[in-house]
Amino acid sequence: MNYILEGLVQAFRLLARGDPETFSALEATVRSSSLAMLASLVLGLPLGFVLGHGRFRGRRLLRTLVDTCLALPTVLIGLVVYSFLSRRGPLGDWGMLFTLPGLAIGQAILALPVVMALTATAVEGLDRRLGLTLLTLGASRRQLALTTLWEARQGLLAAAVNAYGRVVTEVGIAMMVGGNIKWHTRTVTTAIALETGKGEFAQGIALGIILLGLALLVNLGLIRLRRGATP
């Protein structure tokens, strides 16, 4: 069990000496997850708002489907995205298989239901008087949506943090769509899988700790946003 402690030491050593392989994997992780988060937030926040605020036929059914997609297995997403992006697939011409943007597509699909479901929940949980109040102050539809999302910012932050957590730690899509290509699409998680396969447990744990450190940095960055949103 020594490798756990060793892994901790190794993590600091890798970071301290600026190990190029580690930093390459870290960079791939940050890039693909940032792209995926950007896409899922741009799509997921408005869709989640409509899902939580709108009153239309089939809303409940849609809500159930989105909630079900929270359980989408990453390997299934990986498989589907792979089949679409592979040379013989319908999007084969894009040449995105085994690239970071291709990987980000898969991760965005993973994150989208999380952002949508949690945004919808946050919007549903708002005071019913909010919408009426905004209308009485003269808000247009667009202003109503924007202010409603801002009032729910605490919940939206939770949605983003959750989605980010899934994206940054998943390995199925990164392995299948990214391809774990060294210096290119090898992310921290696929690197851990590789090290485990090689029996280099300490190295794998070191990478795991580095990944957690990344998550810590992201959450520290969000503290400022969190402040002022709660009593």
Binding site: R129, T133, L135, T136, L137, Q143, P231
Partner: protein, 306 residues
């Protein structure tokens, strides 16, 4: 201008199978201050929401300045504002709450004096309250902040739903003065729903009663000059022992109002097409517990000529 600000025609509004509101005809003149009284569920809030164009009536038309409007007319809604019974403050500071409506109207950054002035109108010291967060206010303070957030917009129509519910007497007085300022300073039209008839009587020009969605006492006032009666002539239950030569006549409470010149309350009654009025100190009017539209009885010496 002679054209009324609001013209309501054939208004029927349903929530379930029964109409929550049924008002064949209603007109609200510009600059009027109208009170709405009536029991819970009588349709006061619904009427206010319809007048604010937040809800479209199931049937009928509501004309504002001669034109029909709907929930999709932000231009009308920007001139009309409604203070909800339990106002909601945005999760921001007091100043940001006041500035929000101005920002919606694209009036850029609200001038500090404007916001301070609105706070002073509702009796909140800008220095002390301007910096507070939305959760650092008592119920009465939150209500006044919400009112200030509407006054700062200088609305042409100010609709108030139970502005004094759960508010102490000094706050109620501040709310009354702040609301009336809207008419004095920029000629706003006010419609105020309240259960506090004493307060309402001191605030508004006319009180209209609502019962089961019907306007029990819509203007114009009774056609004939009202006959003054004494409190002894008014019975809330049907009298049995009348004495010789006297008759009892069923009547309806047509309106409650306040006469500014002598500070007394006035109860208008309609019985068999004749108008009666009873003048009493305000507290006594309140003590009677009358609601507009309510049934009562008059005991008279002789049956009035038709």
């Amino acid at each position: 201008m002679s054209e009324p600000l609001y013209q309501v025609r054939g208004l029927v509004h349903h929530y379930g199978p029964l109409p929550a509101l049924d008002i064949p005809r209603l007109e609200i003149p510009r600059g009027a201050v109208i009170g709405l009284a009536g029991p819970n569920g009588s349709g006061k809030s619904t009427l206010l929401r319809i007048l604010a164009f937040l809800e479209a009536p199931s049937q009928g038309r509501v004309l504002f300045e001669g034109a029909p409007r709907g929930p999709e007319s932000p231009d009308a809604r920007q001139g009309i504002t409604l203070l909800l019974q339990e106002p909601y403050l945005l999760k921001r500071g007091v100043v940001a709450n006041l500035a929000y409506g101005l920002k919606l109207r694209g009036r850029g950054r609200a001038r500090q004096e404007q916001l301070d002035q609105a706070l002073e109108w509702v009796g909140l010291a800008p220095r002390e309250f301007g910096r507070r967060r939305w959760y650092e206010l008592s119920g009465g303070e939150a209500k006044r902040v919400a009112l200030a957030a509407r006054l700062v917009l200088k609305p042409r129509v100010l609709l108030l739903d139970e502005p004094t519910a759960g508010v102490d007497a000094p706050s109620a007085e501040l709310i009354r003065r702040a609301a009336l300022r809207a008419r004095e300073q920029w000629g706003a039209t006010l419609v105020v729903a309240s259960h506090d008839l004493t307060w309402l009587g001191r605030t508004v020009d006319q009180i209209w009663g609502l019962e089961y969605g019907h306007l029990a006492a819509a203007p114009p006032a009774p056609p004939t000059p009202a006959l003054a009666i004494t409190p002894q002539a008014l019975y809330l239950r049907q009298p049995t022992d009348l004495g010789p030569g006297r008759v009892s006549v069923p009547c309806r409470v047509a309106g409650l109002s306040w006469e500014p010149e002598d500070g007394r309350g006035r109860v208008d009654l309609l019985a068999e097409g004749r108008a009666y009025c009873l003048r009493l100190p305000l507290e006594e009017v309140r003590g009677l517990g009358l609601q507009p539209g309510q049934q009562a009885w008059l005991v008279l010496d002789e049956r009035p000529a038709a």
